[in-house]
């Protein structure tokens, strides 16, 4: 057996490598830098790494090849768009993470122990969250561009493992946070096993682990279709788990609620983009010709996901759980873009992902601002009268709710319109009708929150709106602006996506 020296296209891999480098430097800072200097240097390193990665991505934005890493990753227009979205959202998310009020002082300390009290009094901070974030971002950058199943699996693990840890870092209600982390980890491990199992079946079917190889086998029609079906099914379980589609959604509300809100925002926005990026590539490139094997199942899952997410969200009393169910419903809407299996399906999915990611991050940023003496207040009843306490904060949150509901002149409306028309164009009338009905149901609970904020009187129970830190303000301002701009003048971004987005095969 001879080993061939791998030929790597470093320019195209640079964004990933830069983020990895930033993460490793972060680990070194944790190990060697004095405690006092850690926070600022970590913040600097991570923002710098993300900006540098974005710049590196922009220098190669017009390139496309399948040889960036010996055929393991594909670099094309869709990759650039999705990676750019992930980097932008991670950059904004870092600002939220920098607000350390959200995080425990010492993750290793047992909740309620003497050690924890000392850590709190000693003003310690969990600066390790920065390298963890960067590792997750690196995994997210690889996930949507991987073209062989092993790379895909490795990327999935790289992005998941840090997230499991980060979910347990909450400063308050630590037991709940740790429970959610454990739940996320166990279910995640379970779904990873399914994913791996699917890879094995697909290898058995086609004798290869590359997406293009699988595609050729499907076109050739030589293999055993049972293996193909099992392979697609198990692989899909792993992927649908990550995006929180029904019936693989059970972790979503608990983890969204338990994790520190900044992490929830990051996870909800960036993971969804990365996972849908990967799903789009796998189904558009790998399984496109097996359309009839997976489409009916995916249509059913999309329909159930839209309806379930919207209906269950109505009963929620906690803002983070409500946003979690809303994200489940949105996963259903996004699956419509996968089902469309067309150029317009790809374009609309990318637009939707970006618009939704930005708004989600903004919404969770607002959640971090509503606090009492015991930390964030997520009980919706205590949000009543927010419009009176702080009209600006309430208005911006209402804007995010309206964009989630898909009201015209917000980015969510353009996203919904484009993704539903793509689905209908490819013949999925059922998706269009369910999507519209689910949107109507969803509108109900979004509006209920608006009623609560604006038409109810404030309850005097110590709930207050804190003045956001400068960095959090930037995140909120940017996401609100983008949400309105993409609603009123979506043409530039839509045109850009239309001319850029394609999958190299």
């Amino acid at each position: 057996m001879t080993f061939v020296t791998p030929v790597l296209n470093y320019a195209q891999l640079a964004p990933i490598l830069i983020v990895f480098a930033g993460a490793i430097i972060g680990v070194l800072i944790e190990a060697f830098a004095p405690r006092a200097a850690r926070h600022s240097s970590q913040l600097f390193i991570s923002t710098f790494a993300l900006v540098a990665a974005f710049a590196a991505l922009m220098t190669v934005r017009n390139q496309s090849s399948v040889d960036a890493a010996m055929g393991s990753v594909a670099f094309d227009g869709a990759a650039v768009l999705i990676q750019a979205s992930i980097l932008i959202i991670s950059f904004l998310a870092i600002f939220l993470i920098a607000d350390q009020e959200n995080f425990t002082a010492l993750a290793a300390a047992v909740p309620g122990s003497q050690e924890e009290r000392q850590a709190l009094q000693g003003d310690m901070r969990v600066t390790e969250v920065y390298p963890l974030t960067l590792f997750a971002v690196a995994g997210m950058l690889i996930f949507p561009i991987a073209t062989d199943l092993i790379t895909l699996f490795v990327a999935l693990e790289i992005l998941s493992l840090p997230l499991y840890l980060m979910a347990g870092l909450s400063r308050r209600r630590r037991l709940m946070s740790q429970e959610s982390a454990l739940k996320y980890f166990l279910l995640g491990a379970f779904s990873s096993a399914f994913f791996l199992f699917g890879i094995a079946y697909l290898y058995g079917y086609s004798g290869t682990i590359t997406l293009s190889g699988i595609q050729e086998s499907i076109v050739g029609g030589a293999g055993n279709d049972i293996f193909l079906l099992m392979g697609i099914a198990f692989l899909s379980v792993g992927l649908l788990f990550k995006v929180g589609a029904v019936p693989f959604h059970a972790w979503t509300p608990d983890v969204y609620q338990g994790a520190p809100t900044a992490i929830t925002g990051f996870m909800a926005a960036a993971t969804k983009i990365a996972a849908f990026g990967a799903i789009l590539r796998i189904f558009y490139v790998g399984f496109a010709n097996a359309e009839w094997q997976w489409k009916p199942a995916l249509v059913v899952i999309a329909i159930i996901t839209m309806i379930f997410g919207s209906v269950v969200a109505i009963t929620q009393r906690d803002v983070k759980r409500m946003l979690a169910y809303s994200s489940i419903a949105h996963a259903g809407f996004l699956l419509a873009g996968v089902i469309a299996l067309s150029k317009s399906g790809l374009d609309s999915s990318i637009f939707y992902l970006f618009a939704y990611g930005i708004a989600t991050l903004g919404a969770f940023a607002i959640v971090t601002l509503i606090r009492d003496s015991a930390g964030e207040v997520t009980d919706l009843n205590r949000w009543s009268g927010l419009g009176k306490r702080s009209p600006l904060v309430a208005s911006v949150f209402a804007l995010y709710l309206l964009t989630f509901a898909g009201i015209p002149l917000t980015s969510g409306f353009i996203g919904k319109f484009s993704i539903f028309s793509a689905a209908y164009e490819s013949g999925s009338t059922a998706i269009l009708i369910t999507g519209v009905l689910a949107s109507a149901i969803a509108a109900f609970f979004y509006i209920r929150v608006i009623v609560l904020m604006f038409f109810k009187d404030p309850v005097e129970d110590g709930t207050s709106v804190v003045i956001p830190s400068a960095l959090t303000t930037i995140t909120i301002a940017v996401s609100a602006t983008v949400t309105i701009l993409l609603g009123v003048f979506p043409a530039p971004l839509l045109n850009f996506i239309e001319t850029t987005a394609f999958f190299i095969r």
Binding site: P408, S421, L432, V451, F454, F455, N495
Partner: protein, 505 residues
């Protein structure tokens, strides 16, 4: 700049102006709002004078690319139908501002916010009638809900929050069904000669649809408009909304916004789906007749004066819908004129009722009595408004109601005969409250009610003038309306039935 676009922007400029006035200077805010709305009304009248009555094509057109990826344009223009409704909207707005001079105080937010909402709403009312691009129409149609929602929920009385939510959810539900139909139209147009939302081009698309598709798309539009209009059995939101809103908001809601429903039936249902319109005509005529009688019966039983006016409107909207779907020129002319006249007679009723309620601090009809002796001017104003509502000959509503009935009789004699009972019932539902509230002995507690002051007389005088003038001489409006009515009927492939005298011989 295009005069129509300018007309639409004017209220927005006024809103910005108000936004910079300090909230404490309430009088300045009110003056600015009144000034802006009067200016808009004058500009609209200037436009009417420049309008070429003989031309049935859109005039004052402007078309700018908005979202080229989807073939969406900012496209506006007016024909006789939209001109009449824009006139209605911009003439009623200053009257509402003047009549409800103190409505803005005592709400949940400042007077400033009230007038900003009113002016934003005015822009959207102009936009919704002027849009010649279906997508643009939809954007205004949906976005319009937000200011109304806050006007009802923030400044209304009683169960205002619940009424606002009910209004919003009903409208959103209808809007989303319409969105599904719009997506359907868009996809059909993109498969047949290029994606477009232009109303004229889309009116050719019915040639490419199967009858099932056309029926479904028609229903999507029609249900949205039937909720708006409101047609029985989709009317239940209206009495609640009208009873909770301030009188001024109710005038705009019933007088103008609900006309979007009947406007949409003509502009979209009939012209986009001619065959489906014919298929559904018998059902719709039946619903319209039920609305006429049902609304009238409920009005007779109403104890609350605002609810009474809302129920009479349901009855009147039945007449308008019947006139539209009778598919005769007279029916159409009558329906369009009815839209205008109903706007003014409802405005008169609501404005005077609002003053009565504000003075008596009660909206129960039984609490009034003998007002004619105490407050003669107010009582006479209410009397004339009521007579207009029951379509007394010599007042404006008579002309339109007569045209609708004649137009319907030539094609659907049974429906016309049944609808005529609506007129008999109208006499009851108007004369009973007139007798209870205005005549008879003065009810204790009413002895010292003040009569209309000078501002109120100024506000109601133009409404009365229009009601009486158009009753004697409706030609200025009919000259604008008739060509467009004839053109719609002709494009539907109908010819007016000639009444034959020999039938009975």
């Amino acid at each position: 700049m295009n005069s129509l676009t300018l007309l639409g922007i004017l209220p927005l400029i006024g809103a910005l102006l108000i936004a910079v006035i300090p909230a404490e200077q309430v009088l300045r805010v009110k003056q600015a709002a009144l000034g802006t709305t009067i200016l808009v009304a004058i500009s609209a009248i200037m436009m009417w004078l420049n309008f070429d009555e003989s031309n049935t094509a859109f005039q004052f057109v402007q078309s700018v690319e908005w979202i080229p990826s989807f073939g969406i344009n900012y496209a506006v223009g007016v024909d006789g139908l939209s001109l009449v409704l824009i006139l209605l909207a911009v003439l009623l707005t200053p009257i509402v501002v003047l009549a409800g001079w103190n409505e803005s105080e005592g709400g949940r937010w400042s007077a400033k916010v009230f007038y900003i909402l009113i002016l934003v709403l005015e822009t959207m009312m102009i936009g919704v009638f002027a849009a010649t691009d279906v997508f643009l129409f939809y954007v205004f149609f949906e976005a319009m809900l937000i200011p109304v929602y806050f006007l009802i929920g923030g400044y209304g009385s009683g169960e205002r929050a619940a009424a606002a939510v009910k209004f919003l959810l009903f409208s959103l539900f209808g809007g989303l069904l319409m969105l599904a139909s719009i997506i359907g139209l868009y996809v059909i147009s993109s498969k047949n000669g290029g994606a477009t939302f232009d109303i004229t081009e889309l009116s050719e698309m019915h040639n490419y649809m199967s009858s099932t598709t056309q029926n479904l798309l028609f229903l999507g539009f029609f249900i949205a408009f039937a909720i708006k209009a409101p047609v029985w059995p989709l009317h239940t939101w209206l009495p609640d909304a009208a009873a909770s809103a301030t009188p001024g908001t109710s005038v705009l809601l019933l007088g103008v916004l609900d006309k979007v429903g009947t406007f949409g039936m003509i502009r979209f249902c009939l012209s986009l789906f001619p065959d489906a319109s014919k298929t559904f005509t018998p059902v719709i005529i039946t619903l319209a007749v039920i609305s006429i009688l049902y609304g009238a019966f409920l009005a007779i039983g109403a104890r609350d004066i605002k609810r009474l006016i809302a129920y009479t409107s349901i009855s009147h909207f039945g007449f308008i819908t019947m006139g539209i779907f009778a598919m005769t020129t007279q029916g159409h002319s009558g329906a369009i004129l009815y839209m205008f006249n109903h706007g003014f007679s409802t405005a008169a009723l609501f404005i005077v009722a609002g003053w009565m309620i504000a003075r008596r601090r009660s909206s129960t009809i039984a609490d009034f009595g003998g007002l004619q002796r105490v407050t003669p001017v107010m009582a006479w104003s209410f009397f004339i408004a009521g007579m207009s509502s029951l379509a007394l000959p010599g007042l404006s509503s008579f002309v339109s109601e007569f045209l609708v009935l004649v137009g319907t009789f030539t094609r659907y004699p049974v429906a016309a005969v049944l609808a005529t009972f609506g007129i008999v019932l109208a006499a009851l539902y108007i004369l009973i409250p007139v007798q209870k509230a205005l005549h008879g002995p003065t009810t204790p507690g009413n002895e010292n009610l003040p009569d209309l002051n000078r501002r109120e007389k100024f506000a109601i005088a133009p409404v009365m003038a229009v009601i009486i003038a158009l009753g004697f001489y409706p030609a200025p409006l009919l000259n604008v309306i008739n060509p467009v009515a004839a053109q719609v009927i002709e494009s539907q492939g109908f010819t007016d039935p000639v009444p034959s005298e020999s039938a009975g011989k």
